[in-house]
């Protein structure tokens, strides 16, 4: 693997330089929040951030996106264009947990049968650059419980690790190597590797929040009807914040919009926490209350995804924990399940 060293203050300059050639998504400070947004000409990336408020899944799976357009003819509405397109872009500076989420979403959207053209096109046209968490940003981070680590490159094409004076730049994939020219020509030596490994080990140590995520799978296999499921949802407002914030949640709706003679079919995020999500035209709803919806969300992440893709659909970012207006904590849910 190709490895380089760059000066720590060089990052913003590199991002801006890339932005002359590509669409660069970078962390941008917006009032109290940091969000991944396209870096504008006079914009300034904000790399001294903890993590972005929203998950960067938006880059590959936008909150709302056009799938196709259609137009009115004498014989009815007909297809007019496929809106599947993506600019060549760089997603600059995501945390390792969020990069991990891309690897998880790939399993679903890029299956052998039924490839999701919209997701895949954006993913193929985007190079992901991660910045390792040398110091885990939040007390609620639990990536190490769900097959992640604060210094890890899964899902990323390039990994940047702050090793003191410099960033160690690891060009992990061929896609990452294609951007080598932006990272100068200072080759990293063995000492830089050693330093990185020390830092990585320390960062793992620093993650104190732990959940028995793997232990609960066999318990979930057997406890669909356990009365325990009555105990989580009492406070839940069905607001859907947890699923909107989550980097691995991928449920969506498809709907049509018409203006005059033309229209567009769009997809937008949806949530299994919404009562209407599974409601059929007849009025029948297989998930009648918030109890069934919370069970679905938990089961999907810690059992169904494991059954289907052999991976837990949570990266331990803690966003749902921090954002839930009534403080329902998925870590506690998993902890409680492990004791059933």
């Amino acid at each position: 693997m190709e490895k380089r060293l760059i000066k720590k203050d060089a990052l913003a300059g590199i991002a801006k330089k890339m932005a002359e050639e590509f669409l660069v998504w970078a962390p941008i400070k917006k009032e109290d929040n940091v969000l991944f947004e396209p870096l504008q000409k006079d914009g300034e990336p904000f790399f001294a951030y903890l993590n972005s408020k929203n998950a960067p899944k938006n880059v590959f799976f936008p909150h709302t996106e056009a799938l196709m357009k259609f137009t009115r003819t004498e014989k009815g509405m007909v297809f007019s264009s496929d809106e599947n397109k993506a600019d060549s872009s760089v997603l600059f500076g995501v945390r390792p947990c969020d990069a991990h989420s891309f690897a998880l979403l790939d399993k679903l959207f890029d299956q052998e049968k039924y490839q999701d053209a919209y997701y895949i096109t954006k993913r193929q046209n985007t190079t992901v650059i991660s910045i390792a968490c040398v110091k885990p940003p939040y007390a609620s981070c639990f990536c190490t419980s769900v097959d992640g680590a604060p210094v890890a490159s899964e899902g990323a094409d390039i990994l940047l690790t702050d090793i003191g004076s410099d960033y160690l730049v690891e060009l992990v994939t061929p896609k990452g190597e294609k951007l080598a020219k932006y990272f100068g020509d200072a080759k990293a030596d063995a000492a830089a590797d050693t330093k990185k490994n020390e830092i990585a080990a320390k960062a793992i140590e620093a993650i104190k929040s732990k959940i028995p995520a793997h232990e609960v799978k066999p318990i979930l296999d057997k406890n669909f009807d356990n009365p325990f499921w009555n105990t989580i949802h009492g406070k839940c407002l069905a607001c859907g914040t947890c699923t909107y914030m989550c980097p691995t949640c991928h449920c969506f709706d498809i709907s049509d919009e018409v203006k005059g003679g033309d229209g567009v079919r769009i997809r937008s995020w949806d949530s299994c926490m919404f009562p209407m999500f599974t409601k059929e035209t007849s009025g029948h709803n297989p998930r009648v209350s918030q109890k069934e919806r919370w069970r679905q969300r938990t089961m999907h992440k810690f059992k169904y995804y494991v059954d289907n893709f052999n991976a837990i659909a949570c990266v331990g970012c803690g966003r749902c924990v921090m954002s839930c207006p009534v403080n329902i904590d998925i870590r506690k849910v998993v902890e409680d399940i492990s004791k059933l």
């Binding site: 509405m77 039924y114 490839q115 053209a117 669909f224 991928h250 969506f252 035209t281």
Partner: protein, 279 residues
């Protein structure tokens, strides 16, 4: 990479009003690009997404059999936005069709066996596809006895009336059509589907029952087949869940780890027992 969200363009070639209440119609579609018909190669039991630009999409079981060339048929009940718009369409209108989607009736498993088909109400559509497939030409030899038990609330609500008459004429089919309540002209059977199943009492020997209908019908029919000695492996049904993508992505239609759109809609009772009872 083929984009699975883009429908094939189709034209509404023929509309048949199936029932007296006029809220169930069969729509026959032809592909605008003839080469798309081959791409839409389907197996009985699969479904399609009927796509009306500006209104949306609805998953509907394929009612024709792949042995019927040149078109695809769907029988649709008027329900909400999309199905209503469909019912208002005229022959010659252009729209879209996605698919074929889902698994299918397990044809290989059914081969060489005696087949018992039980249908109620308008859920008879993909069973009709299966029957027409099994009785087409040489296909008939690949299956044993075929017994059909089909019921509707009253004679006016029976689907495919002309076909039922044709089927009844065949000596290699045992057709039992029943209505909950007959009318002045009805000379056939009266009675609920479960009772008729009990009466016909198909043998379990080398037999598979394929059952589709409203939940109440299923609830009372299953015990009859258990009493007749049918195992859960040999009772097959088709599920419905609310759907959008139809290809296992939107996360809407799962029952446990299985997506009804992609892994279903057809399951044996034995397979359903392994899933969560959430449908």
């Amino acid at each position: 990479m083929q984009n699975p969200y883009i429908p094939y363009p189709v034209v509404v070639d023929k509309i048949i009003t199936e029932v007296d209440t006029k809220d169930i119609k069969t729509f026959r579609f032809k592909f605008v690009n003839p080469e798309d018909e081959a791409k839409y190669a389907y197996i009985p039991g699969q479904f399609g997404e009927l796509s009306i630009y500006g209104k949306g999409e609805s998953p509907i079981g394929i009612a024709s059999s792949p042995t019927q060339k040149g078109y695809v048929e769907f029988t649709v009940q008027k329900a909400g936005v999309v199905t209503q718009a469909l019912h208002e369409m005229e022959e010659g209108t252009l729209m879209g069709l996605r698919g074929p989607l889902g698994n299918s009736w397990p044809l290989e498993f059914l081969e060489g066996k005696n087949i018992v088909i039980v249908g109620g109400g308008f859920a008879f559509t993909t069973l009709r596809s299966l029957i027409n497939y099994m009785i087409f030409g040489d296909n008939r030899k690949r299956f044993g006895n075929i017994t059909v038990i089909y019921g509707a609330r009253n004679p006016g609500l029976l689907l495919y009336k002309d076909e039922l008459i044709e089927w009844q004429k065949r000596s290699d089919l045992n057709i039992n059509v029943t209505v909950d309540k007959g009318d002045a002209t009805w000379t056939g059977r009266e009675g609920f589907v479960p009772a008729v199943c009990k009466d016909v009492a198909p043998s379990k020997e080398n037999a598979v029952a394929v059952i589709c209908g409203p939940p109440v019908m299923i609830r009372f029919t299953l015990p009859v087949f258990f009493d007749l000695g049918f195992s859960k492996e040999n009772i097959i049904t088709s599920l419905e869940m609310r759907m959008k993508c139809g290809i296992g992505k939107c996360g809407r239609c799962n029952v446990g780890s299985k997506y009804v759109c992609k892994d279903g809609p057809v399951f044996s009772l034995a397979e359903l027992d392994k899933l969560t009872p959430e449908y």
